[in-house]
Each structure stands twice: as C-alpha cells, then as structure tokens.
C-alpha cells in the first residue's frame, strides 16, 4: 500500500509573477501525493524540489502563511477560481490540476504573495477601534447586553484575509471601494457600548471616498467569507445607520452618539 500512495501524483499549476511589474505566466508542477495534504504542504513539496513538469529547474514558488489553522488570513489565494485560505484547502477535496493564483485585487509582490496594506489603511480610515486612552482613569464602560455580544462576536472573527475584496466585483483597480471587511468592522465597533460613543465618526468615514455607497449588492462577499461573517447584513445595517446619520448631519442633532 505504501508504494501505491508513493506513485500517486498531484498536478498543480501556479500563476507566477517574478516581480511586482513583470508579466505573469502559468507554470506546471507535479508533486508526490501524501494522505491529508493541503495546498501549503503541496507548495512545500515544490519548494523542496523546484522542478516543473518539463523537467526544468525553476525558482521556488513564493507564498505567505502564518497560523496554518485559518485564523490569520495570511495564506489567502485563488484556488481553482475561488479565493480562500490555502491552509484549509485540502488536496483530496480539490479538482486537479489544482490552479493557484494570487488575489489580483491586491498588488502582487511575487507569485502568490500579495500586499494587503490597503485593508489595514481602510481599518485606520474607519477608526476600527475603541478609543479609551486619556489623561485619567475613565472607569468601567457601560455593560453590553449578552445577546448583542453574541452577534457582535461573529463580526469579530474577521481576519482581514482579503477574500471578500477579491470576490467583490466593485473592488478593483478602477474603483476606490474599500470592500466589505472594513465596513463590517464599523458595525462591530459601533455595536460596542464604549465604541458607540464615537459612532458618528466611523459612519462619516464610510460616507466618504471609497466607502459604503460603492456596494452594488452582488452579495459575493457573504458567500466567499471563510468565517461566515454576515457581511451583507452588516452592509445593510450600515446603510440604515448612514441614512439616519445623513439626516442628522444636514438638519442637525443632539443625538450624534446615542
């Protein structure tokens, strides 16, 4: 039985790019099958012996990874057309040849490595945090209702992996849309009892350039999200909040944060 598994091969095609500006190209590889392989262990096999199917020695494929348990988001790539994490993509469940491509919504660094800086810039732009720093002890914040905590917890599972941006037709080089992930974080931090004390600032941020209004409701994001975050519900909820905020901004209100 050992010899049988040793002779089994896995066909892998990688959409490679040597530098951020160079022309990408497909390169085919064949690696020995092992039980329970994932895409990352297959890529590690290629790295051990970087020879393509033509028998030509090539450079090892570059990719990002960190946690290997689908919580960090670093190893996201497009696998057989679908953006997802390569650590949780099992070889046994994929159609061969397995096609690996970088998430082209982001600038490609090399091969399957992309630069997700724009997502972190967006999180800064929408103030996706609870500001508690001050010159004196602010004491305890208000309590959060338990049932609210439960749905807000789901939103906190976002790992900024970029899959929803890759899936969204309105996030591309021709548009400034920040994408669903940072928007949903606004809903998370506005749901927090202390965070909501700055909710108008976050809402006004997503009412600016590249913000909420760019959503076209294709709803690919919620299908693609590996963490099952209700992104389209978040977007609709923010649509309602910004509708109210828009009227408050224009007509004036003493209730910007409550």
């Amino acid at each position: 039985m050992v010899t049988a598994t040793e002779t089994k091969k896995v066909q892998i095609e990688v959409f490679r790019q040597d530098t951020p500006e160079s022309t990408p190209y497909w390169e085919k590889f064949e690696v020995n099958y092992r039980p329970n392989m994932n895409v990352i262990s297959a890529l590690m096999e290629i790295r051990q012996n970087p020879v393509n199917t033509d028998g030509k020695a090539t450079t090892p494929v570059a990719w990002d990874m960190s946690c290997l348990e689908e919580v960090c988001g670093a190893c996201s790539m497009v696998i057989n057309g679908k953006p997802r994490q390569s650590c949780s993509a099992l070889i046994d469940q994929l159609t061969q040849p397995i096609q690996l491509a970088p998430m082209k919504t982001f600038p490609v660094v090399r091969d399957l490595q992309v630069d997700r800086t724009r997502m972190f810039d967006s999180l800064k732009k929408v103030k996706a945090w609870v500001p508690i720093d001050g010159s004196y002890d602010l004491g305890e914040g208000p309590r959060m209702p338990e049932r609210k905590r439960q749905w807000a917890y789901e939103l906190s599972k976002c790992m900024t992996c970029g899959v929803c941006l890759e899936a969204c037709p309105n996030v591309n080089s021709g548009a400034s849309f920040m994408g669903p992930a940072p928007l949903s974080q606004v809903r998370l931090f506005n749901a927090h009892p202390t965070g909501s004390m700055n909710k108008d600032e976050r809402l006004n941020a997503i009412m600016g350039d590249g913000g909420l209004a760019n959503c076209g409701n294709a709803q690919n994001c919620v299908v693609a999200c590996p963490k099952g975050i209700p992104l389209t519900t978040s977007i609709a909820a923010l649509n309602r909040d910004t509708t109210v905020q828009m009227f408050k901004n224009f007509f004036g209100s003493d209730h910007m944060v409550d």
Binding site: G81, K82, A167, P169, N170, N172, G174, A175, S176, M207, G208, D209, G210, G211, L212, A213, N214, C215, G216, N217, A218, Q219, N220, V223, A224, P230, T232, T233, I235, A236, A237, L238, N239, R240, D241, T242, T243, M246
Partner: protein
C-alpha cells in the same frame, strides 16, 4: 467631481431611480395599456397627457433631468464593476450583472425612443397617436427592439427596487431581503405583462 460627494450621488441615483423615474415608467406603461382597448381609447389617453398644464416643466423636472442623471451616473457605475459570474454563479451576482447590462441597453433604447416619439414630434415631423406606434412596430425588428426595451426597463426597475430597499437600509435581515426578491419578481412579471400587452396591441 469630488469623490467625497460619492455617498450623496449614489443615494440620489438610487432615489431618483424609484422617484420619479420608476413611478413615471409605471404610469407610462399603464397609459400605454389603453392601446388594448383600441385606437380611440389610446388617442384619448395620450391627448389627456399632452394637455396637462405646464407639460414642458413636468417633462423636464419629473422625467428628463432625473432620468439623465440616473442614466449618466449609472453608466459610470456600470463601468466601474469587474464582473465575475464564472467564480460566483449566485442569483444575486447574475442580477447584479443583468442590472448593469439592462441599464446600458436602456440608455440606447430610451435615447432612440425619445428621438422617435418626442424629438421628431417636437420638430413637427410626426404626431403622437395610435397610428404612429402602428407604423413604428410594423417593422418586426423594431417590435423586437421595443419588447426587449420594455422588459429591460421593467427588470431594471424591479431589481432596482430591491437594491433601493437594501441601499437605504430598509431590508437588513437576509429573510427580508429574500421576501423582497419575491415581491420585486412579482412586480417585474406584472409590469412586463402590462407593457408587452400594450406593444402587441399595435401589431
């Protein structure tokens, strides 16, 4: 055009699609339906519409300006999308793409329709009546063009109502969005029947 005004322009685009453009389309298709009751009924209805006081202002502020903003900003929106139905073959993704395709087609169709039934009338080359539509639709290609145009318009409106409900934050839960899908489907079917029946009455 400042990108910071994007939010308001998008909201205006969404609102104008329903009020007044969507309301006007519904009213237009219903008036057209008089054609199924014969030439006299249709001519009476169009004559009533044409005899409305301040007609030119009504046309400019209720139809032309809102429609032109919706059309031109819509073209910009349609061309900023990068469609991906191959990787995400869900109903919503197809409707998203169809909304953009029907939008572009409607710009062409409505431009032609306005030229044929408004501009040519305004310069005195034609008169709006039952026979004018009989003339236009006697060409089978034109009949096809008009049927596709009417169905594109009813689809674009019905799906636009769905998007309006989400964009203004009315339907938030997946359940309410699903119900809105069924309701807007019914609106699409009903308006399509009304619109196409009227067209076929001229044939």
């Amino acid at each position: 055009m400042s990108k910071d005004r994007e939010f308001y322009l998008r909201r205006l685009h969404s609102l104008l699609g329903i009020i007044p453009v969507g309301l006007f389309l519904t009213q237009h298709l219903i008036i057209n339906h008089f054609a199924t009751k014969g030439a006299e009924a249709f001519n009476g209805a169009t004559h009533f519409m044409e005899s409305l006081p301040f007609l030119i202002f009504l046309e400019i502020f209720v139809i032309y300006l809102p429609l032109m903003f919706h059309a031109f900003y819509g073209i910009y929106i349609a061309f900023t999308a990068k469609n991906n139905p191959k990787n995400f073959g869900t109903l919503r993704n197809y409707l998203f793409i169809l909304q953009r395709f029907t939008g572009i087609f409607l710009v062409v169709f409505i431009a032609w329709h306005v030229f044929e039934t408004r501009f040519q009338v305004a310069i005195g080359a034609k008169e709006v009546n039952f026979n004018m539509m009989v003339d236009i639709l006697s060409n089978p290609w034109m009949l096809g063009f008009y049927i596709v145009g009417v169905i594109s318009a009813t689809f674009h409106l019905a799906n636009g109502i769905w998007s309006f409900l989400v964009s203004w934050g009315i339907t938030q839960s997946p359940k309410s969005q699903q119900v809105a899908t069924y309701v807007t489907l019914a609106i699409f079917l009903a308006l399509s029947v009304v619109g196409v029946q009227a067209l076929l009455a001229f044939v």
